[in-house]
């Protein structure tokens, strides 16, 4: 690992979260490093999504803390998390079907001016946004049928690629991907996995939630396993310990 990986870019300490009677997270800690893919594994209801939502600002923590580059950070809202450099690709992608890829990229963070006006009243710099978005699409080698058509006209894989590409534009520290290949065919999954590898190569800390063990072994440098709201294991996934990983997830010998 590179020297920069010595200190974690994201650290979660003793995260605790309750929803009424349900104790969803019970003192979970984890660390994510730059240039590394961390797989977050667990059965349904293990607390993966809750943990990720706490990191991306959707839920607040009841106990514990989130540190970014060693500093305690309050993430009250998704917008605050994004400002702090954490990008999330949600399972439903959070794409606007009626907007073009470039418009989707910059939605909520439009390139606009003049700066002395309130944000909503600024004038869009559409040309700059189109140019930048096209450059990113080009760099990530995503092939889109048309750049000026609404996202509604694109396939599942293309939409996924747009959502991931959007995250790469703005990610400065952490990218979280919630089951990015769940709804995709083989060929389209391949494309998205390549994108994830590229995110890692560009020095992001990637947190990947998935049920696909093949993808974990291929991409992940580390895997953290949750079960019933607790962290039950952490290891370096490989072909040899795949069975061990699965038994940790389901909580029994396989």
């Amino acid at each position: 690992m590179s020297p920069a990986a010595a200190s974690p870019v994201l650290a979660v300490r003793d995260a605790d979260k309750r929803f009424g009677a349900v104790h969803a997270l019970k003192g979970v800690s984890l660390e994510a490093f730059r240039g590394e893919v961390l797989a977050l594994l667990g059965d349904n209801g293990a607390g993966k999504s809750t943990l990720v939502k706490c990191i991306s600002g959707v839920h607040g923590l009841d106990g514990g803390e989130v540190l970014l580059d060693g500093e305690r950070t309050a993430l009250h809202s998704p917008a605050a998390a994004r400002r702090a450099g954490i990008e999330t690709v949600y399972q439903d992608l959070a794409l606007f079907d009626n907007l073009t890829p470039a418009q989707n990229f910059y939605c909520g963070r439009e390139i606009a001016g003049p700066r002395w006006l309130p944000r909503g009243l600024r004038f869009l710099n559409a040309r700059a946004m189109d140019r930048e978005a096209a450059a990113v699409i080009e760099r990530l080698k995503v092939s889109l049928p048309r750049f000026d058509a609404p996202v509604a006209l694109m396939s599942g894989g293309q939409r996924q690629a747009i959502a991931v590409a959007r995250a790469t534009v703005f990610a400065r520290k952490v990218v979280i991907l919630d089951e990015p290949t769940a709804a995709l065919g083989l060929r389209e999954s391949r494309k998205v996995l390549d994108l994830i590898a590229q995110l890692k190569a560009e020095g992001n800390a990637v947190i990947l939630i998935t049920h696909n063990m093949e993808h974990v072994v291929e991409l992940a440098d580390r895997a953290v396993v949750l079960r019933q709201g607790r962290k039950v294991g952490e290891l370096r996934p490989s072909r040899d310990n795949q069975r061990q990983l699965v038994s940790m997830i389901v909580g029994a010998e396989v």
Partner: protein, 351 residues
């Protein structure tokens, strides 16, 4: 209609493999394109047919007439269009307009200044719109239908109450009368008012961040929150703008009739909603532009005018407009269906 164009549309990007898929792709693309210009084609067809049936229709005086009669619907429909873009609806615009004309007439009793009277009407419209938006958003109502239905009733009631038994309150400043009733080289001044409203709306919607946010909120409200857009304030603002449009409509109508009345704007909410839908904007939000609202408003104006010229019963006008609404909504359904088809064809393509 979508399937009729089986030929290869040259401008559609296609891959050399699988000829059948290519034919299908271009047929679907052609269908989507036809749907996009459909309302405009229907409007032109309507003009051509009516023009042939009644020679009086295309005379300048009659066209000027249509423009004047369509102005109020067009202006208020632009506000309605913005509300519908965010998946909302504003049922209060008619009552809002009536209240604004009454407020204007009352203001005229206190002041002779046309500017102040106009300002009073605009403020009245904006106030009703602000109530709609604030109660809808911060009262956490499930849908704007309820609150705008309530303000429809309240605004009409307030208008009747403050007009104290008058059905018409005569008198408007000369400038407002000129704005609503005068004309320049045979073109009604109200047409220029429409142009001004369109220009301002276009700048706000297409050039400003606010406009982009309206489409985002209408496209996927949850995602808009996740992307850090101030969704609540965007929603409040569209209802205020819709109210302001009702206020501008009030100025034009009060000017044309040189009076304010609590009975004005009856069923205007339905006319404006019909205009937006007929024009081709999606009732489900997020899709459509100002041209749709204008095309729809002109279409309603022409249908009314033509059937009058042809001496057709007024009831038939209602039937005709209703039928066109059904057609427009079905076109929207068809468009969604075709877009889903494009997605499937995309996924089947070689990378």
């Amino acid at each position: 209609m979508a399937k009729s164009g089986g030929g290869n549309d040259g401008s559609v990007p296609t891959l050399p493999s699988r000829p059948r898929r290519i034919a299908e792709t271009s047929a679907v693309a052609l269908g989507l394109r036809l749907l996009a210009v459909g309302p405009l084609l229907i409007l032109l067809l309507l003009v051509a047919v009516v023009g042939l049936l009644t020679p009086n229709f295309l005379k300048p005086i009659n066209i000027s007439n249509i423009l004047a009669q369509t102005a109020v619907i067009a202006i208020v429909a632009i506000g309605q269009h913005l509300v519908i873009l965010t998946r909302g609806i504003d049922l209060s615009v008619g009552a809002n307009l009536a209240l604004a004309t009454v407020v204007g007439a009352l203001a005229y009793r206190v002041t002779d200044s046309a500017a102040l009277v106009m300002l009073a009407m605009l403020a009245s419209g904006a106030a009703v719109g602000a109530v709609n938006g604030l109660v809808y958003v911060f009262g956490r109502l499930p849908h704007p239908f309820i609150i705008t239905l309530a303000t429809l009733s309240i605004a009409r009631g307030v208008a009747l109450e403050v007009a104290i038994g008058h059905t018409t309150m005569r008198g408007m400043p000369a400038e407002i009368a000129a704005l609503g009733g005068g004309n320049l080289w045979g073109i009604p001044n109200s047409f220029f008012v429409v142009c001004a409203v369109v220009a301002i709306a276009l700048i706000m919607v297409r050039a400003m961040v606010w406009g982009r946010w309206i489409y985002a909120v209408g496209g996927k409200p949850e995602a808009a929150v996740q992307m850090g857009i101030p969704v609540k304030w965007v929603l409040v603002s569209v209802y205020v703008i819709s109210g302001v449009c009702a206020g501008v409509g009030a100025i034009v109508l009060a000017g044309r009739t040189e009076a304010g009345s609590p009975l004005y704007g009856n069923l205007l909410e339905l006319d404006t909603i019909a205009a937006v839908i007929i024009g081709g904007a999606s009732f489900l939000g997020g899709r459509g532009h100002i041209g749709h609202a204008l095309v729809g408003a002109v279409m309603i104006g022409i249908i009314r005018n033509a059937l009058n010229l042809l001496n057709v019963d007024a009831f038939f006008q209602m039937i005709a407009i209703g039928l066109i609404i059904v057609l427009a909504v079905e076109a929207d359904v068809l468009r969604n269906h075709l877009e889903a088809k494009v997605r499937v064809l995309q996924a089947g393509r070689a990378p």
